[in-house]
């Protein structure tokens, strides 16, 4: 009996030793992000239809694109179109999936979950960063799956193991930067806004107007500068170069700039919007 009481008395002391730092410290941010990321991943994995949709639809689209347009585009460029199609679908898959996360954030605002997290001693940025971290996990898995499907159709890494790793890194960094952008829009959008439709439309436009879909000089002249510099094209070209060889520096710089723009323009609106979303009632 006495022992039991002792254990209960010791508990607060134990708690303090687990969490010695304030909720604003970097350590707390890291720790809370880790916990909440695991939550995000679990929520995602348990929704089986969504998982299938966000993994299988890009894979099917990739096969279709290769089968339908592969020969026509391949004849026009003299290069296997897979080296454009695989990066294109990796990028599209990464971008498309982040809409799921955006819709979930919008929904959790309505159910009051954000408000509940906000009144707990949790680092203010941890929930947002955990969502981005969960996106990183999803994009990493998606990239590996699409590369495996691509490999089955003839996609090869001729540059060795390090560029191959680089390709995955490009996909993850680009996808994560876009996810920050989408989350910033999502926290600032009113609950129940037709986010999926608007972002989906934007993504569909970008999907057709890039160098992975059709060679750049196939587009009308006035459109070529836009196609060449829109966010997806440099990422696709960089991934193509990392797989088969080719110029890297210029596209690397463009990808870095786009990623910096996505993150830089979004991070402040995201934090402010998150506070509003969590506290407004």
């Amino acid at each position: 009996m006495t022992e039991k009481v002792d254990v209960r008395r010791e508990e607060p002391a134990d708690h303090d030793s687990i969490r010695p730092h304030s909720e604003r410290s970097i350590g707390a941010w890291f720790e809370h992000t880790r916990v909440l990321t695991w939550r995000q991943v679990l929520v995602y994995v348990r929704n089986v239809p969504t998982v299938l949709q966000s993994l299988i639809i890009p894979a099917i689209s990739m096969v279709l694109l290769k089968v339908v347009l592969g020969d026509a585009v391949g004849n026009a460029t003299g290069e296997d179109s897979l080296y454009g199609t695989v990066p294109l679908m990796i990028i599209i898959g990464a971008m498309g999936g982040s809409m799921v996360s955006a819709v979930r954030l919008n929904k959790e605002r309505t159910t009051g979950l954000l408000a509940r997290l906000y009144v707990l001693p949790i680092h203010r940025a941890a929930d947002l960063s955990s969502r981005v971290a969960a996106e990183v996990v999803r994009i990493f898995v998606l990239t590996l799956i699409l590369l495996a499907v691509g490999y089955a159709m003839g996609f090869r890494f001729s540059q060795g193991i390090l560029p191959a790793v680089g390709l995955v890194v490009v996909a993850v960094v680009f996808g994560a930067a876009y996810a920050v952008f989408v989350l910033a829009i999502s926290v600032n959008a009113p609950p129940g806004a037709p986010l999926v439709q608007y972002l989906g439309l934007l993504m569909s436009v970008l999907m057709f107007f890039n160098s992975g879909f059709s060679p750049i000089d196939g587009y009308p002249g006035w459109l070529q500068p836009i196609v060449a510099n829109q966010p997806m094209t440099p990422a696709i070209e960089l991934m193509r170069s990392l797989a088969t060889g080719g110029p890297i520096t210029m596209n690397l710089i463009k990808v870095a700039i786009w990623a910096a723009i996505f993150v830089g323009a979004s991070i402040y609106p995201a934090l402010v919007g998150y506070r509003k979303a969590a506290t407004s009632r």
Binding site: L64, N75, F208, F209
Partner: protein, 271 residues
């Protein structure tokens, strides 16, 4: 006996049954049309085909034109068919919403023949199909399509388009009744539409497909529809040998649609 039959033909307000049924049908039809208008589906009816036309025409024109074809002319049938399939998908969504929100159950307790809601939805869908078709034609004119089949050929072309659209809408309406949830409906319809649409001769000529898939790409229904529409849109006369597969596919779709609708109506009665 005479009193009974008298009551059968006149309702309490003294309106004959035929007039009343027609009024019920019109009320439900205008309800559907208002819903379509408020959902912005008439806007979507133009945006969707125009979007599709531009997204395929601009990137692929040069890649495709190397074979000496006019890609705008080539794309025309598939853009019209996609416009029809968008309209059909939204028909499925609407009928699924009617089920999931319980309005069909409420209709059943009203003094109204059971087929009135079905025909009201059909009329709504027909209106949306016509608008979609006109929008699709405008989108095709923008990317450089010109009617080459003369008046007769163009009328046949549009009649085929509308007929196929009507069959698809009937089928989609039935699927919406069975599926119940609108989300499930859009998923059931989305993937097959995408695969059949892409792996057809609508976007890419048959000889540019890999050899192993050419037989499928040639014989699947969408490609057959596209083929008939292309012949109708050309100076050539439409022969039975070209039209036959389309006729058979249409009969097949009609039979499936009737089966699905019957099942859907039966399911509605059992609730």
């Amino acid at each position: 006996m005479t009193v009974d039959s008298e009551i059968g033909r006149l309702d309490a307000a003294g309106v004959s049954v035929g007039t009343r049924t027609a009024r019920q049908w019109w009320t439900l039809t205008s309800r559907g049309l208002l819903k379509v208008l408020r959902n912005g589906e008439f806007v979507f009816a133009f945006v969707a085909p125009a979007f599709l036309a531009i997204c395929f025409y601009l990137p692929l024109r040069k890649v495709m034109d190397s074979g000496g074809m006019n890609y705008g002319q080539f794309l025309m049938p598939i853009i019209l068919l996609q416009a029809m399939s968008f309209a059909a998908t939204s028909a499925a969504m609407r009928s699924a919403f009617d089920v999931s929100r319980g309005i069909n159950t409420r209709f059943r307790v009203l003094p109204m023949p059971g087929w009135v809601p079905l025909f009201a939805r059909l009329a709504t869908n027909l209106a949306l199909l016509v608008v979609s078709m006109i929008c699709g034609v405008v989108a095709c004119l923008i990317i450089g399509w010109r009617a080459e089949g003369g008046v007769r050929g163009t009328v046949i072309l549009l009649a085929i388009t509308l007929g196929i659209g009507l069959l698809l809408a009937l089928l989609a309406d039935g699927l919406g009744l069975i599926a119940g949830s609108p989300e499930a409906t859009s998923q059931i319809l989305g993937l097959p539409t995408m695969i059949l649409g892409m792996v057809s001769t609508g976007f890419v000529p048959e000889e540019r497909f890999p050899e192993w898939i050419q037989p499928f790409a040639r014989n699947q229904p969408i490609s057959q529809f596209v083929e008939v529409m292309r012949v109708a849109d050309s100076p050539d006369t439409l022969s039975w040998s070209v039209a036959a597969p389309t006729v058979y596919w249409c009969i097949g779709i009609a039979l499936i649609a009737v089966a699905v609708l019957t099942a859907g109506m039966r399911k509605a009665r059992q609730r």
